[in-house]
Symmetry: none
Subunit: 84 residues, 2 copies
DNA sequence: CATCATTTGTTCGTATGTATC
DNA sequence: CGATACATACGAACAAATGAT
């Protein structure tokens, strides 16, 4: 499930690569609407990057309407059915 | 209160323009001795510049004795009354 | 009710690479 | 070349709310 290693030499920033994997996972149904995506520490460890990088990725998901973040709770997948 | 947009075409570097605004704010009493000036992220957003640029501005304030910076806490206005 | 682990928020320090003037 | 500026990324530390036990 998109668990290939990140390409540290790519022109695509790490945070974008991670965002792409998360989006893929969401659209693939790994996490459905209302469910929480992995926490920052979890993603940090999974991808072997700094927390800031993970946060940038999640921020991207938030900005693109894939998730909403609840402080101290996590980021939850949004229902995109009405976002066409 | 010095909230005009920065002049990206000026001969005066952006970090100096930001420093000037901060100094103006300090001397104007926006932040008194002991109080913290806005954080780097806040200033970054407020002025629409890179963090490095903000850091250069704050470094200038530090070098000129306006503030002292505490790692992970912020930059605090110094009491300049006895610096004549 | 108290305690503890989890989780996101915030903040400064540092480094690298790129681009421009 | 040096100064300025942006983007990305890692590190470290503490705060504060939440939820489970």
């Amino acid at each position: 499930m998109s668990d290939d290693a990140l390409d540290h030499d790519s022109l695509v920033p790490l945070y974008r690569q991670i965002a792409a994997r998360l989006i893929h996972g969401i659209e693939h149904g790994d996490w459905v609407a209302g469910k929480r995506i992995p926490s920052e520490p979890t993603l940090t460890q999974r991808y072997g990057v700094a927390r800031e990088t993970v946060r940038a990725a999640v921020r991207h998901l938030r900005n693109t309407g894939y998730v909403h973040t609840v402080p101290k709770r996590g980021s939850f997948v949004l229902d995109r059915t009405r976002h066409d």
